[in-house]
Symmetry: D3
Subunit: 294 residues, 6 copies
């Protein structure tokens, strides 16, 4: 059960060069096998399914907090896609002028045919996200190892998306996610360490390039964002700090489990209408509704 806040976890600057093909690439981070839909749904199902949680509450709480944070990640990636797609076709409400003519050459035709230049739960090739990407074996050790690997695979995707799309909107998003995904990698490493004594964190970074090489990520890490695991609940899931503690494997600083700071994040952007797509409505109809609703 959740409550929602109308905020993004980090601020996304308006794109300098809206680009449908950039948006198409970013879809991989949303609906790809290693996209945020996958991290969200893996941990969410694992938390619903956790057997024997009364005995192993810190593990349950850890997974539940991370699952909760991931919801904000599908939101962030979706907004980035929506912003990159805003204004990429001609804003002419007269269909005869062929306002979408350029879109015939866009890599992703769903963005204009199925959505109003908006995000969809597909990957960068237009293949739909599906439930086979969820692993929930019920065995805690196997699930944690899976999650550790999943986050590393997701990190590889983010790095490559960063290299493909240079627009500041996308890079702000990816830079933030590299840091927060990095927290999740370390969290699952620490959980495995609690179970086995193996210093899993020393395997990092995977792939073998540091977050510090990405200026947008480095700025967040300089501010210590990679050290905080947040409690994404006002009352519950409070024992994750029994796992998230001790030195960070990359720089040795102390890891802290904290309540999500008051006012975290940034307001959600207001997405401009695209009248050629009747999105959200025909302009005349909008005017009419506004009158009626007063």
């Amino acid at each position: 059960m959740i409550l929602r806040m109308d905020r993004l976890q980090t601020e996304l600057p308006k794109p300098k060069n809206p680009s449908a093909n950039d948006a198409a690439a970013i879809q991989e981070l949303l609906g790809g096998k290693f996209g945020e839909m996958s991290t969200l749904m893996n941990y969410t199902f694992q938390s619903f399914n956790f057997r024997g949680r009364s005995q192993l509450r810190p593990f349950y709480d850890l997974i539940a907090n991370i699952a909760t944070e991931e919801y904000g990640h599908i939101e962030l990636v979706s907004y980035c896609i929506n912003m990159l797609l805003t204004g990429v076709t001609k804003r002419d409400p007269n269909p005869v002028s062929g306002p979408l003519a350029d879109a015939a050459n866009f890599r992703n035709s769903y963005h204009t045919l199925a959505s109003g230049q908006q995000a969809l739960p597909t990957d960068s090739m237009g293949n739909y996200w599906n439930g086979s990407f969820v692993y929930s074996s019920g065995n805690l050790k196997a699930d944690l190892l899976h999650n550790f690997f999943l986050e590393c695979g997701a990190r590889a995707n983010k790095i490559r998306a960063y290299e493909m799309v240079t627009d500041p909107c996308a890079r702000a998003m990816v830079g933030y996610l590299l840091v927060r995904g990095g927290v999740h990698i370390v969290a699952y490493a620490k959980a495995l360490e609690k179970l086995t004594g193996v210093d899993v964190g020393k395997l990092l970074p995977i792939p073998d390039i540091s977050n510090k090489k990405f200026p947008e990520a480095k700025a967040h890490e300089d501010a210590g964002l990679h050290l905080k695991l947040y409690q994404f609940s006002t009352e519950d899931y409070g024992t994750a700090g029994k796992i998230w503690n001790g030195p960070h494997p990359e720089d040795g600083q102390e890891c802290k489990f904290e309540p999500l700071p008051e006012g975290y994040g940034a307001p959600v952007p207001d997405l401009e209408p695209e009248p050629q797509l009747n999105s959200p409505l025909d302009p005349a109809m909008i005017a009419d509704i506004l009158k009626k609703m007063q």
Copy 2:
């Protein structure tokens, strides 16, 4: 961005007759085309994607609140499945005895092979939920009509699941969802009515059988649960009441938009371990961990 509470939206009684085939049927309500994954993801993406929301905020807020409530629904269905699956195989940690032998005849073999007798994002035939079930056209009228239909289709599924599975755990869950899904149907009808003036609510019920025929649903409706749309946010999405108001189309009582009541719902059940599946861990390992974690 969300916060999570460790509570179910309604209480689920312990099953009288745990049954793998009943659990398999209930999967349709989770990962089927008309399952809760679909309602959750449709409204969630529509809310992320909403263009021109500053002008049409009540519609945005309506969709966002319902989307948020749906998260609690995937949780509820998942717990129901998990409870129906608890104890359906022999609890013998010795693999040689063939503790899962009965499972070779279960309709859904993923429950024991891929999960630890737990819910998965598939439908009742083991087909995975996928993103082609999400509609987000960007046109508000088309999206609302879709949502109205989707909820009616979901209602048909719930009714039939109710008729297939008679265990009280499942019926408590379905009865509750019939009422809350009913609220969503009416909410989308009212939204369409605001846009067009058409009395869409008079089409109801679809399918043509009243919630009052289902005792578990009737009890909730007698208590007025079908009249409340909740604000699933402490601060945001507060204007949905501009749409959710006026008489309920079935009984004419007044509809009210309210903050989610303090302490809503029930505690989440603690799911018993299934040692034959090493879920969550080998018993010896659990003991070992508990010692270490003190």
Copy 3:
């Protein structure tokens, strides 16, 4: 462009033992890789796509006539499934009695959850028919070879469905289709022979068991049904007889291309309501509508 007749191509007796699992098996003949959806759609697309038809009209006409006949085959298989599913659950409109309780053990749960005990475009495992089953290479020789193989694969499926389901309704349907599918196999063999001079028909039967071993098929063949290719058009596609002529490869009788006989086939059965599924409507609502519509 088509016109439709409210008739089945052959008469289907009422099932002696309606059976959900028998219906589930028969779905393979509808939506399987080698089901009637596949034959219909392969030939239909090949006919739309035929390049250079003015020069090769007999081939175009042959494919178009067979494509047209196949529509009647998806109809026939669908009715058989519908009839096998009629009455397999309890006809109690009160959901509390659990009228669908038996269905939790049916192999195919879509029949009661997604349909009203009715046919769906899936195969015997509930996997959906999909467009990857269509081959339309544009090369006539390759397409004809494909079609010849497809019909042989379809024949194997029919033979096995016949052996799995013994109810007279299913056997009447399969027996008829074995004969008509046999015509199609020979037709594609003859088409290949016209192109190459190779006596392809001598490869038959594939699989290596004669239609005469199936009493319901034998009865049709005794009446000469395996010798007729019908013109499924009142005016067009009339040159297929340039290919469909000469001796039948199995018994040497003369093949004839003829107009579809007047009054061919049988009336479509009237499918009984299943009120527990609200199919077609709640009984009270039906009464109400009938009154209004007078």
Copy 4:
């Protein structure tokens, strides 16, 4: 059971600018979730599956007539795609010259690798049409609501395809389909109105832009094409006029159910060979066959 006519429902002008990427976009109208394969198969299965039809014949007849018309729509879209693809690569039968070299940059590589520059049952991203797009619940009210929504979703796709592809061949096709799809939308609205008394037609148009804004559609509507529901059968399905009658919701003119006019439509185009694809055959082989077949 059907008969077929070798005619298109409307005339398609030869493309001014054949274009593989335009053809790729148009595929959405054929094999997309809201394409003509979906409308065809939804209504076809609903008609096969209709329970209790003796009591509710006008509804059965309405669905059956529309289903039958849809066959002509998959034909029309397929021909449009085929025409847009004709001549888009070099017509050189010598493979060494790389006649398909341009195709490596086409959005849809199936058109040259899997087909002979021809239509396939996929959508605009090359994802295959599949049976999960078919809804046949057995409950008439739910099915009609679905159909009403499906047609509105299909309309949104057509509008956007119109805006993406400006070639006259495509626009003639889309303009015609907007009008005929509009008839289907109103037909399902009227059917729902008969069941419930709700003036569903007043919700239209969805999306909120009139067909009159599209010159090719307007020309048809000026001629009254939007007022006619045709009986696509010489003898059967004749009671649909009990539903299709009364004023059209957009302009108040009287709706009429009529036999399909004699000579409706236009001859099917003869598609030119593409020898570089051996479609239909190697030129030498064609010559050889023609000699033999005389």
Copy 5:
């Protein structure tokens, strides 16, 4: 490039109780996400794709040898399925007797409809194996971590299949694979250890139950089978011993890289015909062919 030997890697006893539902369960080990098709194809593609192999040959050789061994595993699982399916229906070549009638209640209908009671590349629910199960990121560290996890996930599946299916044929197969899969787990752990210095092997076993608990596996381990990585090539891939060496993490014995022993494994079983399925041919046709082929 490969050479093939007509031998199984281990001997499979004839099933005591052939069982279609047992065979259906075992399909998970063949075509499931964690089945042998997945391990085979992951390592095979990673070996084809290995960049910079001249510098990192031991890693390349390790992956290539394991990939090669996996081919023998899809073979072993397929034979087990084929043996479990032999004789499960009536061997009556007369279709009228309904020799496959029992199969209408089998969980997997493909085994009789699509195959001749034989293995197919699907999982235990009849979902097809697909290429999304292959991970080949190009980054060695990420690929090795993936492989380590994949083998652990595969191990969980094997353990559960062992508990579901008690027939000696299946248990001989699973017992052997637990040991050889165990070698692969340790091999990838050692490879990661070479890259990072982390003692990954100490994470084992995952899931947390020892192979020694499975008598069929224990027998192989008592004979030291878990200590040998074989060179599956007569000349190439010979440097894997630079990684596969040192103590085994579970029992400390010394790991050895060796040529595949001469005469390894057992003869492949000769699978009996199933004449009711015309598999391999109609008996009369077999006799005829044998005569001709002399």
Copy 6:
């Protein structure tokens, strides 16, 4: 059970113009419905599944040898893709420079996001290869006919890929495969001929263009490569020569079954690193590992 050799079946020249879109097209020959994954897996499963092989050994041996050769074909196509992808993005290890920026416009985004510019088991549209492409009916005649058709369909794909991609690396690969695939077509034709007496080889070539029109294929045929079926085993599968003998249907030369020649093929290319993708590792890490491994 197999042994592997680190060699390609034919030499692939370094591409003149590496091209991501050319590589995308070639993927069809790897993971398409008619790609080498399909031929490999069809024959491999048919060989595992062969019932009654003791009586029909030459057929078993024929299929097994061809299956074995196909492994070398997926290897060859994969290397061709890898080589075409080598160097197509900027080799700058600094992510800030956007080294993958060009890739946002590549048709296949998986090559840079999911792989390290490497082959994947997908087709030319990024759809994954899946097990529904495998046919293994158990009936030998049906399986052989399928294989004959499959090879013809694969041949059509190769011809078209040749026409789309003119780079010498791709053409060397396709030219070789046209010849070897041609051997397989004839082999299955001869097998059918043994069963039926029909001169199936006279249907060839399908599509109707000779291999001699492709210079790279012609060179191999001039050397007699189309006459040899190789025994891909040192000891087993030796009776295939009872089928593969007699005149070749296209030029009448004598067909011979022979052991695979000593030293067949060419060394596998060493694929250059792509440091911008961390493939295989960060350069500093490679250096570090090399030091450690000495």
